[in-house]
């Protein structure tokens, strides 16, 4: 092994971002706009340090196998290799996990999914590191994988974990349950299936670990939640959290896929072992194995209603494939159970939600988080019921729409605002796009575009509707909070507010939102947002559509604290009476008249407040599945217009119209961006996105084979936004990131059904289904060898193993 030279280089990262933001409610250009358009913005993959080594990960080619032996000696002897580490080298806890620490940092005894990390190396060049992986010899005893969630609970199934193969089971009993079936005039049943979707953020996972020379480590990382990473990394390194400091580096999208750890612990282990900075960067193929995915699900439903269209009961059995490790599956299972009936008033319900371990890739957080799968099924059921009753599908939904004061099947009272009927009525009256003549149309306007080989003879149009909802914030008793440090100071004679939080900007516009709040609350022109890091308290996760609410509230609270102290000072020093003071344009004012400029009042001092905002307490479900589990509910309805070439199975989504309840618009452009982007991911799940897994092995770990919507697939989005304030939330806002991804998928599939008359019970809907060739899962053809050129390493997908 090569000689290591202890060095403790310091990294100079991007500093604070300072600008004049808009106020709450105004569109504002992104403060990271100039660095992003000029290419200067530093993503985590761009970081380099002198003397830095490159890390690489050896992953299991098998979905299920015993590890009999790992021989690293040949790899260690390779020139340029500085470290080869296995599970024996994990200094602290050998497992990690956000909810249940069940996932090995590096596998020992067994591997439970294809792509599971087994060994890591650090070398002076990425290629040397990859070559070293080839020289790590792992002797596997291959075992039969459990690849079907339903089979994981059979008695003869091998136990994948000591606790068995059941990760979580939830049962909700509401009213008389199915005992109410006799009161129903009409019953419809259906079985639905959802494929495994990938977050497919454009910037693959990467990070840089730098040893501090005193036994600790600094980690620069693209993540969604710095502090939960810090806790897990410190635990596995056997260190105090203080010794592991994290700084957010530029994030190339997230969508849930960066909530779990990827290389965080690995990079730190290698850096500490070699006493050198270590960079790890996944490529696209490895990224597919390096993060969790959206849970595939099988959903069995029964809906009963009266002849005039009132829902009587819902029976639902939801089975989720959690894959090999827990990730956030517990919470996904809960979400799916609580959202199983949709945003409808359902007097009786029996819901089972099962989350099972298998040897498939681990699944966890992705935008929509459990609500997505349930919504596809309950919305298909509502259409089926409308058809059976001879009612208009929108009218049936409106008739049964939840309203404030109703009870969810899990017993919680529906809090206001809950404008389900209103958003449905909005999409109902939005004008439909004009029907265009198909024959003779510019080829680019046909389903399939220029690859359509017809004149459009088989093109049929369809319209579909769906509505869905999502909980905002963490639920079920979790102490969900965010921390903000706000400092009012004077720079060059001008008041300046500095805001410091650990909240992860992943592209959604959170920097801007924090600055808008600071400007609004403290009446200053200039705001400076410090880089997110662990030197300030946790902001919680950039997930569950929660940052605008929770970190927004923390920043607001800290600003209010600073403002109170300002007013206190005005009273003490100027004898100003306590009431009626406000801040505006850098001055303390009363009745529009300047009392004193902030700069003068501060007189060289600084005012600083650090505040934690904890949202209202929530509660776990009891044994009957009852409880006040969620904080806030956000609703969105969608209408899709599609054209389907029924001969070729090709689809053109003509338009998506949506109405969403957002509480209060903080930044119109950012809001529209969230809605349009969320709908695109919903469209992807409806039409094309699926990680294809065969016998536990991923067949399409590339952007060549895993398709996400292009600019040609996405139509124009028409939107209406309802601003009905939530009295508990800062500015009355609701989280907006996830609702667009939930009902857009079933709306598109409903439109496909309308166009084709097919049942379409599985998503993504594939061309062969639409052309009437197959209604099943994707065709299980073996792909031909090829790809990114790691043949000798033993491809992750097992196409060629050594």
């Amino acid at each position: 092994m090569s000689q290591t030279t202890p060095t403790t280089p310091t990294r100079v990262g991007p500093g604070p971002t300072t600008w004049t933001p808009g106020k709450v409610g105004e569109s504002d250009r992104r403060p990271d706009g100039v660095p992003k358009v000029t290419g200067e913005f530093e993503y985590s993959s761009d970081m380099r340090l002198d003397g830095m080594l490159w890390g690489a990960t050896l992953r299991s080619p098998h979905p299920h196998a015993e590890i009999r032996q790992i021989d690293t000696s040949e790899a260690e002897d390779l020139p340029g290799v500085y470290a080869v580490l296995t599970h024996e080298d994990v200094p602290g806890r050998k497992v990690y996990g956000m909810e249940i620490p069940d996932q090995p940092v590096l596998a020992w005894e067994k591997v439970r999914y294809q792509g599971e990390p087994v060994a890591i190396v650090a070398a002076d060049h990425p290629e040397t590191a990859r070559r070293a992986l080839e020289k790590v010899h792992v002797e596997y005893g291959v075992l039969d994988p459990i690849t079907d969630a339903e089979k994981a609970v059979q008695e003869d199934a091998p136990k994948l974990h000591l606790s068995g193969n059941v990760l979580r089971r939830i049962r909700i009993l509401h009213g008389e349950g199915v005992g109410a079936a006799a009161k129903a005039d009409v019953v419809v049943r259906g079985e639905y299936e959802v494929g495994m979707q990938d977050q497919a953020f454009l910037g693959p996972e990467s990070g840089l670990a730098v040893p501090d020379g005193l036994g600790g480590v600094d980690l620069y990382i693209s993540t969604q939640w710095l502090h939960i990473d810090q806790d897990q990394v410190a635990e596995s390194l056997g260190m105090d959290p203080d010794q592991v400091r994290l700084t957010l580096s530029g994030v190339g999208g997230a969508f849930g896929g960066r909530e779990d750890l990827s290389m965080q612990i690995h990079a730190c282990m290698l850096a500490l072992e070699t006493e050198r900075p270590v960079k790890m960067a996944y490529n696209r193929e490895e990224s597919f194995f390096g993060h969790v995915h959206r849970h595939p699900a099988k959903l069995r439903y029964e809906h009963g209603a009266t002849r005039d269209g009132n829902l009587v009961y819902v029976k639902a059995r939801l089975v989720f494939d959690g894959g090999a490790y827990a990730s956030s599956s517990n919470a996904v299972c809960l979400n799916a159970a609580t959202f199983a009936c949709g945003p409808y008033e359902v007097p009786n319900a029996e819901i089972e939600s099962h989350m099972l371990y298998t040897n498939n890739p681990p699944c966890g957080a992705m935008r929509g988080f459990g609500a997505v799968q349930a919504c596809f099924a309950h919305e298909a059921q509502m259409d089926k019921l409308a058809d059976e009753l001879g009612l208009d599908p929108l009218d049936l939904r409106i008739k049964n729409a939840l309203k404030p004061g109703d009870r969810f099947p899990f017993g919680q009272e529906v809090p206001p605002p809950a404008p389900v009927r209103e958003i449905l009525e909005r999409v109902k009256v939005m004008p439909l796009p004009e029907e265009q003549e198909v024959m003779g149309r510019d080829l680019r306007g046909l389903p399939g575009g220029v690859s359509n080989v017809t004149h459009g003879e088989g093109v049929k149009r369809g319209v579909g509707y769906a509505v869905g909802f999502k909980n905002i914030g963490f639920s079920a008793g979790f102490d969900d909070y965010s921390t903000a440090r706000v400092r009012l100071t004077v720079e060059d004679g001008e008041p300046l507010v500095e805001v410091h939080t650990a909240a992860a900007e992943v592209g959604q516009g959170l920097l801007m939102l924090q600055a808008q709040i600071a400007r609004t609350e403290l009446g200053v022109e200039k705001v400076s947002i410090l880089p997110a890091d662990t030197r300030v308290g946790s902001a919680g996760s950039t997930s569950a559509s929660r940052q605008s609410y929770v970190t927004g509230a923390a920043v607001k609270l800290a600003c209010e604290g600073v403002r109170e102290r300002l007013f206190e000072r005005a009273r003490e020093e100027l004898g100003e009476p306590p009431d009626g003071l406000s801040v505006e344009a850098g001055n303390v004012v009363r009745d529009g008249r300047t009392v004193v400029p902030l700069a003068e009042l501060l007189d060289g001092d600084e005012l600083e407040e650090t505040c934690e905002y904890h949202h209202r307490e929530t509660h776990p479900l009891d044994e009957n599945g009852q409880g006040d589990v969620h904080l806030q509910y956000a609703f969105a309805a969608h209408r899709a217009v599609v054209e389907v070439d029924v001969e070729l199975g090709l689809v053109r989504v003509v338009e998506i119209a949506t109405a969403q309840d957002v509480g209060k618009i903080i930044n119109p452009q950012a809001l529209e961006g969230q809605i349009e982007g969320g709908i695109a991911q919903g469209l992807g799940l409806a039409l094309m996105e699926e990680i294809q897994v065969k016998e536990g092995k991923v067949l399409n770990a590339s952007f060549t084979d895993y398709l996400i919507p292009t600019i040609l697939d996405m139509p124009t989005v028409k939107m209406e936004v309802l601003e009905l304030a939530d009295p508990e939330a800062p500015y009355g806002l609701k989280g907006v990131g996830e609702p667009p991804t939930i009902a857009s998928t079933p709306a598109i599939v409903a439109a496909l059904r309308d166009a084709t008359g097919l049942e379409l019970t599985r998503i993504p809907v594939r061309p062969e289904q639409l052309a009437g060739v197959s209604d099943g899962p994707p065709l299980p053809d073996e792909p031909t060898p090829g790809g990114a050129g790691y043949a000798e390493v033993g491809r992750l997908d097992g196409r060629r193993e050594t």
């Binding site: 200067e40 953020f201 961006g673 590339s702």
Partner: protein, 177 residues
């Protein structure tokens, strides 16, 4: 024992001459990022699918993960770092910023070059033409609507005004800092 084949590459990037001896297997995008140190060109897939690494080679856009560094010898390359000039943003950069045409921004450099090539050949594209021109660039954040708007706004700005103003597609009023 394996032997590496080393080739000499001389290329002009953003108007500056660069030369280096590189492994013959090195991809152009890897050379741009790690040999010439321009990190604004991003790697999203290395299979030519996402377009994040799109640059301009001899006046035509190219996905730099599908070219070898060796094949850039004697050619002229423009990367995103060469888009702004004398501290002034190009109209396309300005329009993407103004219209919120990106969120995480990872796809942005490639997206802007595809847009730029379109506007050079078709100064007043309709929506269909914009979508057609950008089909090789994936974006996971925006749903593309604001990208279409950004390109449309850039087209308006670049084809408006006097000839003198149009000679330079860079903005006077917005410094890059």
């Amino acid at each position: 024992m394996e032997t590496k084949s080393i080739v000499a590459v001389r290329t002009t990037i953003n108007g500056r001459e660069h030369s280096a001896e590189v492994d013959s297997r090195l991809l152009l995008v890897e050379a741009i990022r790690d040999v010439f140190g321009l990190k604004g060109t991003h790697i999203g897939c290395l299979t030519g699918d996402c377009g994040a690494c799109t640059v301009v080679v001899d006046g035509k856009i190219a996905k730099s993960c599908l070219m070898l560094a060796a094949s850039a010898d004697g050619r002229e390359i423009q990367t995103v770092e060469g888009l702004a000039r004398d501290g002034k943003l190009h109209q396309i950069q300005q329009s993407f910023w103004d219209e919120y045409g990106f969120q995480c921004g990872y796809c942005l450099p490639g997206m802007m070059f595809s847009a730029k090539e379109l506007l050079e050949t078709d100064p007043r594209p309709d929506e269909a033409a914009i979508r057609h021109a950008l089909q090789g660039n994936l974006c996971r954040c925006t749903g593309y609507q604001k990208i279409v708007q950004a390109v449309s706004t850039a087209a308006d700005r670049m084809s408006g005004g006097t000839n003198e103003e149009r000679e330079d597609d860079h903005r006077d009023d917005t410094p890059t800092r």
